[in-house]
Symmetry: C2
Subunit: 256 residues, 2 copies
């Protein structure tokens, strides 16, 4: 995938039975992907695993060996099914320790010491060598160890944690997008689109049919790091669509 | 995870750059998970991979070795970025062949032979030995080979394909759920919840805090195959919540 070979890569590891059962629709992957893409870090893979030690440990170890960064969500709360921190410690072969700074943050947050029960104190257990990730919403921190960033699963907490992490990451050239939408069926555009991809190997070109409100058509999305090249290719593609009898709508970004 | 050890398992493999870029929010995993759960097939893992041959081939081979069934979505359309069928053929070490029955279906669908161009005919390329999966919406079929079911990425087409597949699957005892919701913070319930999980090793108990419309609380979800046990455990948990000063709301299913 040529546009992004030079970019740092990332994997997202979503920990949680509730996603695998269908109870909860994950909202974190799109947010993480778009946020990282904006600083030139390309999400290459995502996995959803159950709250099961072996599954979490092996996924973490596979992904951290393969990508520049790994971002995990979920499983760092106070209940028995929150086992991410101990699994990360196992994956790295280090001890899980009660982190004094994390304890201090929880003490400040809960005020009354009776509120800070043993279950909540578990949220201060951090793998040895881990560096805390701030949680401005509910205090219980995430952490970074090696190239793995461990975050909460609740979306607004995860988003706040990610905002705090961003300045620590090594980014790359931001990935930009142009979208050419039209009412043609994708099968009509396919041959010319494949030829365009061959002429622009530095871009990643995707074709996404849509069916909405009785309307159908296709969004053709071009991605790359050079906006000049993107604009040129989008203009060419708009010409192709016109030649096929369609009416192209060209937008900046990938949502068109 | 005791409730489901006897159940057949599944993995979902989502193929598509558009999910990894954050452009498109996957809607297929929750639908597949809930549908399979209803017939006692438990989704144990999901992966999202890019439209890249090596990534698709290795994910398919890892997952099909590990789970009873693998369900893939995406990458079976007519454009250059649709490479799932050829990747599945590679993963199984078989040829990719133009399937006469698939061609016949496309011919019927498009009517005018000029409409059925080479790009669209690619959608009739099926790994040797593959068995077609009906597509009642846009004709281009999915297929099954071994324990892998290859489906479209567009949600309504995927759902129709899955409906057609269900009768061919070996299910297990359906997994049922009860939810006990309350306005308590999960850290207050955590210790008693962990003890309840120990008393009911045959259930899978999860704790999901929520923050909605200024309201916060926690949904405690119990899953298992024995509804009598579920009702008993849910009643016990409601008692625990009451003792902690909360007002439990018990619902059937996992959405409460």
């Amino acid at each position: 995938m040529p546009p992004t070979d030079a970019n740092p890569t990332a994997a997202v590891l979503i920990v949680g039975n509730e996603i695998l059962s269908g109870r909860t629709k994950d909202a974190n992957l799109p947010h993480i992907a778009e946020t990282l893409g904006g600083i030139g870090i390309v999400v290459r893979e995502a996995r959803v695993v159950a709250d099961v030690e072996e599954a979490i440990v092996s996924a973490v170890n596979e992904l951290r060996a393969r990508y520049t960064y790994v971002f995990t969500t979920g499983g760092i709360g106070p209940t028995h099914d929150d086992i991410t921190a101990e699994c990360i410690a196992k994956a790295f072969g280090v001890a899980l320790e009660r982190n004094p700074e994390a304890v201090a943050r929880l003490e400040r947050h809960y005020g009354d010491p009776r509120q800070l029960n043993e279950a909540r104190l578990r949220m201060a257990n951090i793998p040895a060598g881990g560096e805390l990730i701030d949680n401005p919403i509910s205090a219980a921190p995430g952490f970074r160890i090696g190239n793995v960033f461990v975050m909460a699963g609740v979306p607004n907490i995860m988003q706040a944690m990610l905002d705090g992490i961003l300045p620590r990451l090594r980014g790359g050239l931001p990935v930009h997008a142009r979208t050419v939408s039209c009412g043609l069926a994708e099968g009509r555009v396919a041959a010319d689109l494949g030829a365009l991809q061959k002429r622009y190997p530095e871009l990643e070109i995707g074709s996404y049919p849509y069916f909405r409100r009785g309307d159908f058509g296709v969004s053709l999305v071009l991605r790359g790091t050079d906006e000049g090249v993107l604009d040129r290719a989008a203009e060419e593609l708009a010409g192709i669509v016109r030649q096929l009898g369609g009416t192209p709508i060209v937008t900046v970004g990938s949502k068109g």
